[in-house]
Symmetry: D2
Subunit: 336 residues, 4 copies
């Protein structure tokens, strides 16, 4: 951490500041210039509150040089984390496709879709039981009943299931769920993250609409710091000025997260654009960029989908897309 | 709602689509053009899922003409909502300043600050007990103990208290809290909003970092639809590419929300920029734009503030700022 | 400027880097930490190319501590710049309203509008002769003829005229123009800025849609560095994810620019939102925030306006708005 | 185009509006609802000024259903445009790599780099003679001398050259340049675009930092409307809230532009992130997404690069990257 001191600071104030910073457990290096005096904080600055430093009256600016996360950082954990989901591995060269409908609607729908996506090569089944919807008048999901239906589909197909949680109090309902998903709107629901940190179940953590990669890694840090090491990150498009696509897929997040962190990262091309025909080109681009997995929405009857049908593929479209994805994954050396 | 049909749609598909739309309870108006066929949906379209329409294969684009909210809309509720907080009114010409420290730290701090902000003219006391922090290593608030300390300050000063909730399961702890604040990161925590809709306590709903005004009003709709009519909206800066200020204060939200909705709107200039000396100019600008209230952070000892001290004023600075704000509020005809 | 060196840098590389930095004319302060080595550059770093530093293989990150502009900085020029436009002063407490139609369309239109805005209290006349339009099929302005018409209105009313330039080769046509406006899309048309730096005519420099305040000041620096000291900055809304208004007015730019720079700053509330009824609330908010002037579009017949009529006030609306603005300007102590 | 009429509009106003719209040459379809009356404009609406419609007092909202561009649209030109640059084709399955230094610095540098990138497989040479720099104190390019040096490198290697223009008055200097590049900051320099529309030389048009895909296509429309059909579009990253990369590469632009337009699209991974090691993963991702070409910065001595060295590869790194890119291009069926 480095801070610049205001020109009008007097010597006494400067000495007080230095003494106080040293009391935080870091070493201070002082550089006096003609226009600016710079203080470098050397040591473990991850736990220093940058806003607090900024609040001090004689401080002009303060910048972080090191990342504010540790457990999520590759610096302290050079090897890739490989998350094992009932035998299906993700990360460290292992690649997975997670697929299924946006919302669970009925037994027939989830079971039929599960059979189709499994046949096409997806190993993990997704489906929404609790649905975050912008409008209170939109379909809110089957909730507990939706989880029951997912478990039926799991029993039928043997596929581990991935589904979203919306409130910490619902955790007991997720006991038999294989991967708990934290949606983009809850990426900074810190109370929920803390509770999930106490489980040993894999957590799929989606990046918030307007959250930086650093903030995503800080939210992962909440889970990791609680003791749960099974975190899978997910890029699903960020909010920008562009309106031609629902969100803007930040594909740079893939190589960047692979450099900054050891955690696996997947991409959700369905939510990134909201346009079904763009799923295939963005999926292969993501695989080429090195992604560890994909989440793709498939619905056996998109016109009657109760939610987000807009971005779902039909099973037939998914069959074709999976061939293209598998070929690309093999070409770039992924283990499927 | 208006949708354009793809050029290659055949007549049978078009007729099926029209029949299905009519089954949703709205009337259809068809306009056939040489290049594009347009379908207008007339009637109550607020409960129609736009994503579902978009998913239909022969639909090229779909646009909403009416707002998707009702209880929050001024169209159906022309008079200003006035929220009464233990006798202190906000909205409909009534103006309030809510003030206090970012975090509650100890009895002395919260009580001293409360006495000072009351003396300066603030009628409502704010203070964080549960603190959403980006880093798990930053101070997380005194939690239940923080609420106890706020209640002591309330007893001492008679000021109603405003404090943030972070999880629906904490509601019982907020029984004696006068206004429950929903923070920016929880604006779309829909499970929480639904629970708050069942209370009759005023809710201060902050706009999310990357949420549109329409989405803010939809989140208010969750609370209103549950039966709780006491919603105060809060603009606190949005996330943009500009880094000179922490966020970008969207002052246009004030006149815009006053036109679209009957709900009162307040501004938080402290979080909007994170720069204490900007609180005063942005406060008076907000009052001039017609805002119904302000939330201003004040700390009796900013350097030692455990959180967000960066943006707090000292009590002396606040005294001076309150004079300027009061003069402006009187000038524009607000009732203090 | 401060830079962090990569962990794997060897001593020889580090010494080479230090020697090279010193050759740029600044002093180096070295802080060696257990995890990171930090180098502080002390002296005049405004002319050091930050991208060049970032390119060096052993450099992990580099951050600027000082602003990269000088002539525009208040540090080196503490007193407010007051720009004098044919006797009408702007800046340093002097306040001006610049008004007129978006586009000049015909003699009757520009002269009638000029008479009306002058009667309402505006001292400066604006009108577009050269119009930047997104579509090649939209009206492109009367060009040279438009300037002739503006000069007629100037002769009739005595009002100095403000009009936009779109290409450096047009400068000779602007000889009798009092203030040359650089539009948002040309804020980084550096060839044009260099040419304008050689004139001694006031330049109204609009902030680009996605440009930071630092970049706006850097563009002003281009003009100032050329010798032209008469620069007026203009905030006109930035591009964000919010679509309810055409752009998002960044009102914080007013106090911030007043702190960082000595140059006057005006606000264009017409372009900021594109919604005519919002001109009045945003104008008074801007005045309350300390702005030095306003640019307001007025058209004597908005329905038939060939361009941007959407955001124009009628002369009657402008009369009423000017009363409100004048009252507020007097209240905050501006000299009109 | 579809517009909603305000609730309080009277019948006479509505009839006047309809009559006026019909005078613009389009057919009107009227849908009267209980809450909203909707008017559909059917016919050629590309030349209707949406802002003008929005300005009419009884209009509540107006939305475009069709794209506002024609010459750039695939609807009116279904086959891919293939741009031929001295025998090297781009578009329609043909793939090209354009490579060279950010700035031309001296004969040795440009010639050496040209020989290296040609040997590695790039067919087109890029190099900046005129450089748009944020700061007036940064290196501004060798200008006319830079073009001379590029022509020497062209003579030596036979590679066609691509270089950026910054002002319409410089066009005569570009006579022997093979492809004229319009930089991101000039994407809406409409005077320049009009002049380039009169040439028959290929134009490489870069997307602006904060411009939508529709706006990029509208700027292409300026060139096409002038008669120049040789336009190559370029995505080079957009400005968002994310600061970990210099810009955010919008990879979705590739499939989207291929659907909306017949023009070829290339990606500039060097400028998109400003991080040299990310060039390779983003290049292969772009190729997988179907891009028609890449622009990659290579410098024979990055540490001493006068500009943007930050994002350049060394020739050795480029050799390796080109192997990976070529393999991917062949895998997805591109013709090199």
């Amino acid at each position: 951490m480095v801070l610049a001191v205001k020109q009008n600071a007097d010597e006494q104030q400067l000495q007080n500041l230095i003494k106080w910073i040293e009391s935080l457990g870091v070493t201070v290096h002082l550089s006096r210039g003609s226009h600016t005096t710079i203080i470098g904080l050397v040591g473990d600055t991850a736990s220093i509150d940058i806003d607090l430093i900024r609040s001090i009256s004689i401080v002009e600016t303060v910048k972080r040089i090191q990342e504010p996360y540790k457990s999520a950082s590759r610096k302290f954990h050079p090897d890739d984390t490989i998350v094992d989901i009932a035998g299906h591995k993700i990360g460290g060269g292992h690649f997975q496709v997670i697929s299924g409908p946006c919302s669970v609607e009925c037994e027939e729908q989830i079971c039929e879709t599960a059979l189709r996506v499994k046949a096409a090569g997806a190993n993990l089944l997704r489906g929404g039981a609790f649905k975050p919807r912008t409008s209170p008048y939109d379909f809110q999901g089957l909730r507990a009943d939706g989880i029951e239906l997912l478990l039926k589909a799991k029993k039928l197909t043997g596929m581990p299931i991935v589904t979203e949680i919306m409130d910490a109090s619902h955790i007991p309902m997720f006991e038999q769920v294989d991967v708990i998903q934290v949606g983009a709107r809850n990426m900074q629901n810190f109370e929920l993250l803390k509770m999930l940190g106490k489980l040993d179940k894999p957590i799929l953590l989606k990046r918030g609409l307007a959250n930086t990669i650093t903030e995503l890694l800080m939210s992962a840090e909440y889970i990791l710091a609680g003791g749960n090491k099974n975190v899978i990150l997910c890029e699903r498009g960020i909010r920008t000025f562009e309106t031609a696509t629902r969100n803007t897929l930040d594909i740079s997040a893939v190589p960047l997260i692979h450099q900054l962190s050891h955690l696996p990262i997947v991409i959700d091309p369905s939510h990134a654009t909201g346009i079904p025909w763009m799923v295939e080109p963005l999926s292969v681009a993501s695989v080429a960029a090195g992604v560890d997995g994909l989440i793709i929405e498939v619905h056996n009857d998109p016109i009657n989908a109760l939610c987000d049908g807009a971005q779902s593929l039909t099973p037939d479209q998914f069959d074709k897309t999976m061939v293209t994805i598998s070929n690309m994954a093999k070409f770039v050396g992924k283990r499927l």
